[in-house]
Symmetry: C2
Subunit: 403 residues, 2 copies
């Protein structure tokens, strides 16, 4: 029994195991209303898990039950922050309080969030207004008139096209500033900018650290909050715990949201993005402590087994293997790209892409599509260099069938 | 160890326990992407848990991670259903597909959800546009221009004011029809009506079965979906598994959403509310199988220990006790009301209410506020008649301090 448990939980010794199990049972069967009645050990568990990996400049975290709720509440935090900034104080007027009850301004103000074409930030109605990757996500659902900027469409390998790519990024940044001005004139000021470090669902689209630094500065210049959505990129797959660490900034964002690999949803934020009153950012569960507990153990394994270094190593091998295959199948493959094992490659057309996905699955390899005709690679963190070679052999066999 | 586990899980016998524990471990540490890779036993677990308590007329359930996500996705299901009904078929036009990518009609249509003043349906941006209970929930968050009808303001005890209450309900129903017509004329047709069987957060406001039957008919007459939000009322506290069972209808709703006591979020729906294509109602987690497993055990206990009968019995004792206290403290208490143990009482003013809440807490009784000056009682399902008497004694002591 203990050895069975050891498979999933790297705790050794019977007493430790007993106490872990007994805490776990209590955590599991008493799903707490975290906002009002958190378990006594909840702050410790947050310190062991999420707060041990806080992004630079952020010491606060708010857990949530899923990725969409994380982004919805991050948006709300930005709206609240922005309105208090406009007011110059935290006290709403009587008109604010009465108009908001019937969905009208000024209580429910015409503020907006600027997002990017190709972005994916979730599927609840606030998030969905910033999602622009596939029509099937958005069709038939009412939305907000919020500004949408172009995301840079770079050429790969990035280092071979630095001049062209810098031009493309400058074009997109200019458009961002134009949109901020235009929407302010329309009476729908941009309270926040939301962006993924790598657009995932939209086709694994990368941008340079310089692009993100400039965007951060534009946000600051225009008084918008800067929200980095790491729901898909966070948790180690890029070779760092957070993809934004590759930008090398001390102050990368005002808000960083997460979910998926972190097992719980939530967002980190700078102090000034803390809501000014209780119950403004709130719901019944606000996450699930059992997931923080599992995350703490996952982090132990990541650290003990140096999994981020492994990811960097196996990511390099994977990307080099993709470059080789791309040279071998120039009519079928293009635009190999990636950071860590967070890699992708384009296929000549959608039909071939889908056939490759199915054939790979039949050989035991689960791949995903993204964008119009990309394949995304999302191995788990224990994917090592020898797994890369096993995978590349299988992938080569599948590609040979499509020659 | 086994006896420790028995406290939380009513499974007997070592082998059963071993297999339960081993499944549980796997469920816990492998949080699945339910929409694409559900565990093999997932359908069985749904049958044992949620599908064993489906509301009348509904054989389908969609799990979600929390109450807000449940309502957001229920709204989306109603919008998708409504638009397909408008089209007369399921095939979107090229204009639908391209306009939705930039948040514009016709792809993102100007549809609305009709809600009620005093309602609470969650805090993400779609849900929040139907929530009208407290300003602090809505302040500073952009919203939709959706119709808001008055919820009946009844006099209690209901049976003593049936004539006045029927008049008040007729007034509200008339307003609902007016709003549906008005919003259709505004070009923002009402795709669905959402309502709680008892408005909880808004002050424990009740309405009669006749009111809900008429509302269901109005929805049908105008081609709107009818969504009953049982996030707070579902799970047994009213003496039935679903509060809408008190209406005695075979076809109470098109959608019933739940969360809280059910441990997982989600919604039941009639067959025609099923989205027409995969990935329209979708997210990474779509709930959490470990919660369904716990729910199955909770349901076993509810059935074995006849907890719904217990709730009905202790609810009667609680309400009678509140009537007695109301007679004893006529200046302080009024409007005692309830169904099962889902009871509430009004306090003369907000300050006294809050003082009572704090004093009760100091005596070990956790009560909640709702509405402007109500106290809501939300004991767990194992709250028995003798607990009622313990509670009433403590409550009486606290009230005596405020005389």
């Amino acid at each position: 029994l203990i050895s069975l448990y050891d498979i999933v939980c790297p705790l050794h010794g019977f007493h430790k195991w007993m106490s872990f199990l007994s805490f776990f049972q209590s955590t599991l069967v008493n799903r707490p209303a975290l906002g009002i009645l958190p378990p006594e050990n909840f702050p410790d568990k947050l310190t062991e898990s999420l707060l041990s990996m806080s992004p630079s400049g952020m010491t606060r975290v708010q857990t949530m039950a899923c990725g969409s709720c994380s982004n919805e509440n991050a948006f709300k935090a930005m709206f609240i922050w922005y309105r208090n900034k406009e007011r110059g104080h935290n006290t709403p007027s009587e008109e604010d309080l009465s108009s908001c009850m019937v969905n009208q301004a000024p209580g429910c103000p015409d503020l907006s969030i600027l997002s990017f074409m190709g972005a994916f930030h979730g599927r609840t109605m606030g998030c969905l207004a910033t999602t622009h990757s596939k029509a099937i996500h958005k069709l038939d659902v009412p939305s907000f008139d919020w500004p949408i900027a172009p995301f840079p469409r770079l050429q790969y390998p990035l280092e071979e096209f630095s001049r062209e790519n810098a031009q493309e990024e400058a074009r997109c940044l200019e458009e961002v500033e134009d949109l901020i001005v235009k929407w302010r004139q329309k009476g729908k000021p941009v309270a926040g900018i939301v962006i993924e470090p790598i657009q995932a669902e939209g086709g694994d689209n990368h941008a340079s650290p310089d692009f993100f630094k400039s965007l951060r500065n534009i946000a600051r210049k225009h008084g918008c909050a800067f929200h980095v959505d790491e729901v898909q990129t966070g948790g180690g797959a890029t070779g760092k715990m957070w993809a934004h660490e590759h930008w090398g900034m001390d102050d990368p964002a005002d808000i960083v949201s997460f979910s998926k690999k972190l097992l719980t949803g939530g967002y980190y934020h700078r102090d000034e993005l803390q809501a000014d009153k209780p119950y403004r950012i709130f719901n019944t569960w606000m996450g699930d402590p059992s997931k923080n507990l599992i995350l703490a153990e996952v982090l132990n394994v990541i650290r003990r087994e140096n999994l981020l270094e492994e990811v960097t190593r196996s990511g390099k091998a994977l990307l080099n293997g993709l470059y080789d295959l791309q040279a071998q199948y120039p009519g079928m493959l293009s635009r190999a790209r990636g950071q860590g094992t967070f890699c992708a490659i384009d296929i000549c057309d959608d039909a071939t892409r889908n056939s490759i996905l199915l054939k790979a699955r039949d050989k035991g390899v689960l791949l995903g599509g993204c964008g119009d005709r990309s394949i995304r690679f999302r191995p788990s963190l224990v994917f090592k260099e020898y797994h890369v070679h096993i995978f590349l052999n299988i992938f080569n066999e599948v590609l040979a069938q499509h020659k």
